[in-house]
């Protein structure tokens, strides 16, 4: 058994803080990046059980991260957090195998989404 790990890419400190709080309930290993390019580098360096990414960030966008994650680990679950109810983006993210969560959401919706993506998580 390895420690379950998640990479969170989010540039808004407020949203990042609540993502971390919820993830702490389920993940032992949480890595946080506040830009798309930094998150991209983290994906190159090691593996994660889950990727949670914002859509719009400095550097690379969430969609680019999803594509990169899929290229490196096709079965890794991914969750895109979007403030844009933009059908094109949602469609593209789903094609890349990601689940999409629209802001604003609460703790329960976020937990539910993560548990659906990673059914074997502890806690």
């Amino acid at each position: 058994m390895h420690d379950t790990s998640v990479l969170i890419a989010e540039d808004d400190p407020l949203v990042l803080d609540i993502l971390v709080r919820i993830c702490k309930e389920m993940f032992a290993d949480i890595v946080v990046r506040d830009s798309g390019s930094e998150a991209m580098r983290a994906l190159e360096l090691r593996s994660f059980d889950l990727l949670i990414t914002d859509l719009r960030m400095p550097g690379e966008s969430g969609l680019t991260l999803l594509a990169e994650s899929r290229r490196r680990a096709p079965t890794r679950p991914t969750l895109l957090i979007s403030g844009y109810a933009d059908e094109d983006v949602v469609g593209e993210a789903r094609r890349l195998g990601a689940e999409v969560l629209h802001k604003p959401f609460g703790a329960n919706v976020l937990r539910q989404a993560i548990r659906t993506l990673c059914p074997d998580l502890p806690g």
Binding site: I22, A85, G106, A107
Partner: protein, 301 residues
Amino acid sequence: MMDTPDRLESITQVLVRVAGGDFDARALRDHSGDPWDVLAFLVNATAEEVAELVGDLRAQRAELEATRAQLVQAEKLVSMGQLASGVAHELNQPLTAILTLGELLLEQERPPQTERQDVELILHAARRMGRIVSAVRTFGREMQLCLQPVDVRLPLDDALALMSEALRTASVGVDVKTCPEVPKVLADADSLEQVFINLIANARDALEASVPSHERQLSIEIGSAQDQVSVTVSDNGPGVSADVVSRIFDPFFSTKPVGRGTGLGLSISHGIVEKHGGSLVYDRAASGGARFTIILPVSQA
């Protein structure tokens, strides 16, 4: 026969007045047909022609200015829409934090009952903000309609079902009349449902605000004529007052109390119906209340 000096004086005066902008001036004529009379006739005809041209010019200028004012207004609305859309997006971040932290607080054993109620109130308010943000964003977005032949009674029934609780608690009686044959229209059923919900919700709010509870009545009538299907939604409320009737389809215009309306419902509805190649118009119902009529072209498919 007039004296020559008098005729010269008369013609000169007319020319001076016309030159000064008074195009109603006319020279006196004796209709003798002599050269002075012909000259007076020509001066008068010219003044008349000038008067007509100036009248046309003034009308065109007024029209131009009205169009320009409309353009300025439209530009203002576009930039206001973009601004509102941006603000709405930014609000989603703190709203996410409020909702999440509020839910986490409720999960704790510690907070006493009164504080729990306060947290629930905060969550309730945050969810309402979320709905407003979503309405503003829907408005700012280019709509993608999925057009199919639709029986308008289906989205109408769905809208009435969704609104049934709200109508019941406000003691609003509902009366639906439909013509025997309702041809299908080419429409996006979800968007039409949204239009019906907006109109029904407005009627409900107006009735609740100003009609005694046992008299509140909402009437919906489906009709069809030639290649069109019409749906009228009317109430026996106070109707829209004359001084604001020209603004009811403007975005962000609302007569509801602060916090009740986003001012986007009718504007969104108007946009949706126009995108269907139809029209949404307001007039006064026979009862004196508000009446909105949606007209949609019949599907040729």
